[in-house]
Symmetry: C2
Subunit: 430 residues, 2 copies
């Protein structure tokens, strides 16, 4: 039986799991690949850490990643260092040396996936990255291969477990954002500095990757309209509940109605409780796909964690190894449709707006006039009067553009009877 | 640009959709394959039917399927006739002539998938069948390719839309089986003769295919323990509701705890409402996968219908076409693990048992003694006394084998105080 040699870059939570699984299940992997997979070396930053739990021969560790990816006896390189540099240059060096690459690096792929794909094509090697979006959930391969005969219209994803955990706590226990975040941090679901998650940067990188694949068009992180969820209040969540909805941080990739442009955005949104995404609890991820012929699909599972991410990486490693044995490469990047990214202002959706208003006659008429001026049609208005004489007005609109909505909000702010526009949230999934 | 020619066998609901999609999206498909896909011919039983809605050149229709699959200028054959014969012989003839095959034929694959895979391997052609299980849901490819580096422990599937629709109606509206079936028939979700669906034959074929792929072992329809759902009563559904559960017809494929055998069964079961499968409504399908590293995954979507099934078939056609251009074949059947199928009696699960008993002292003691004799441990007992002096006893057990449970039921039947064992249902997904 042949042997294929794999270089591993990084031996943190994910890397050590990959090494462990490769050692533990070597015979099964060999039967599935048709060749034995052997670890050629593992690049780490420091050699003095105890890594005996991985079961890996200690002589395999090295601090010279560049030398490792250039070795003649390495067939494939697995990159789980993360971040832009030196990951990018190591991947490019590996490809130049004819090695196929498997990576979980969403930041790098969202930043410049085309250059990586172009390099892979130039050097006739594979580039796979199932683990980069929604962890263990088989998602990119189904989109790239299973749905390749179909036409995706829309992708709605819960692709960040931290924020889903926080929002789920807020929904279930009525907790405020700060309290729920603290709990998530205590449980290890959120980082000490949670910015990347709660401000939507992580989800935005994944949205860019998803949109590119779903619409066969070049999309980067810079194209994604991003709003975080740190501003979501207990009152927003309660208001969503009152209308039979739940607040989720969504990555939304959609084709414009004419099919000639792509919209990509990340923001908190209200979705109806009957929507399959509404039932995604805790730190789980799920991606809902609307395709022209297949209809509504959903892919659900753990979006992070060492073992799940390693599972996705190893699936790619097996594929890369099989391709190498067959002397071929898999389907590469596909951007032939070259659809441009639509300006955010042209996004069409529904909105939920909470206003703090004076409780006196004529307020509703004045508010309604502002919506009418901008051509934004109102679906429902709910008014809640408090003993203090203040009132909360909750308006849910029909479909309108982001531009029209922004103009409406500016108009509302200018009204003397409107004390505050307390929140504006999109309503999706209907 | 190259052209690859596809022969289509069958032009019913699915076949006509495939033809229509190939014509409508010819340019997109060409961009994705890297070659134009052309319909070489369509085998039908009768030529005198109007098929102008497909947009297909009428001269392409033929009644000579054998000649069509043998033509020199055909690269791939798509079989959507269904049934065992002549589908089997046409597929084998196509392979002998060097054509790759895409099929949606679950009956044939569950009957003898190994022979088909062996023929594909012998003639160095592809065999793909994503549409055979759970329609449009990308499932077989994720199991065969994305999870290939992982180890599946269990698959729980709602893989028959008809029975899910019926059970959902019973759960939502308290309808009885007969009433819900009638409604399903009126809406076109159930056939006039619903046997294949309600007695679990359709789900059993899919279970056999899933088990074979998930456990890399040869499993056929004959290996599947099958119980239909026509015996599920409104009272069973209400009882499930009372314990926070819902009744679903499940296809269950699982590895024995020691990993040395495979269990495959189809039967109605109660699952907790918090389980992701519990929320699968109407005629939708979903498959829940438990893998060693990836954890809990779910794949959700439409399990049937012309357009969704055609989407899955076309995904396979694109893959087969790409492989052909690259001069390779994809990963074939994988049965290396050769795990035997475990006898049904060794299945371990929990049970929900309803007994019609006389309402007098000592009944519970006698009933409990029968369970104890067989080593079946009771988790909860609930008694409901009626004015008539009858009582219903609902027993939920801890885990026990099917053999022990059967012996228990025989013992209960023999008790003078037990008038009837009204229902026995497995409890899964906990």
């Amino acid at each position: 039986m042949n042997t294929l040699r794999v270089a591993l870059l990084g031996c943190g939570v994910v890397g050590s799991e990959i090494a462990r699984q490769m050692v533990e299940h070597a015979d099964d992997l060999a039967a599935r690949v048709g060749a034995r997979l052997e670890l050629a070396g593992i690049a780490v930053r420091r050699l003095d850490r105890d890594r005996s739990d991985t079961g890996v021969d200690p002589t395999l560790f090295t601090t010279d990643a560049v030398e490792l990816v250039s070795r003649d006896d390495v067939d494939a390189v697995v990159e789980v260092i993360g971040g832009i540099d030196p990951a990018r240059s190591l991947i490019l060096t590996a490809m130049e040396q004819g090695k196929s690459v498997v990576t979980a690096n969403k930041a790098l792929l969202a930043d410049d996936g085309f250059a990586l794909h172009a390099a892979a094509e130039k050097h006739d090697v594979d580039l796979y990255y199932e683990a980069a979006v929604a962890g263990a959930i088989p998602l990119l391969r189904p989109l790239r291969e299973s749905l390749v005969g179909d036409h995706v219209n829309r992708v709605l994803g819960i692709v960040n477990g931290t924020t889903n955990y926080i929002l789920d706590q807020m929904d279930t226990h009525g907790a405020g954002f700060a309290e729920a975040l603290e709990e998530a941090q205590a449980l290890g679901y959120a980082e000490a500095d949670p910015t990347t998650d709660v401000e939507g940067y992580d989800a935005a990188a994944k949205a860019a990757i998803l949109a590119g694949i779903a619409f066969h068009s070049p999309v980067t992180l810079a194209d994604v309209h991003r709003e975080g969820m740190s501003g979501v209040t207990a009152s927003d969540v309660a208001s969503a509940k009152a209308m039979g909805s739940v607040v989720k941080l969504l990555a939304i990739c959609e084709l414009a109605p004419e099919g000639d442009a792509v919209g990509v955005r990340v923001h908190p949104a209200m979705i109806p409780r009957e929507h399959p995404l509404a039932g995604v609890r805790g730190a789980y991820n799920a991606v809902f796909v609307e395709a022209e012929y297949a209809g509504q699909l959903m892919f659900y599972g753990p979006g992070a964690g060492g073992a799940p991410t390693a599972s996705a990486v190893l699936g790619d490693v097996v594929t890369v190894a099989r391709n190498r044995l067959g002397g071929v490469t898999g389907p590469g990047g596909s951007w032939y449709a070259e659809r441009p990214v639509r300006p955010t202002g042209e996004t069409v959706t529904r909105y939920h707006i909470s206003l703090d208003v004076a409780d006196r006659p004529g307020v509703l008429a004045a508010v309604a006039a502002v919506f009418a001026e901008q051509g934004v049609s109102i679906e429902t208005v709910r008014q809640r009067t408090e003993d203090s004489g203040d009132a909360e007005l909750v308006v849910v609109t029909h479909q309108a553009t982001d531009d029209a909505l922004s103009a409406t909000v500016r108009g509302l702010t200018d009204l003397a009877t409107v004390r505050d526009v307390m929140s504006v949230m999109r309503v999706e999934g209907e």
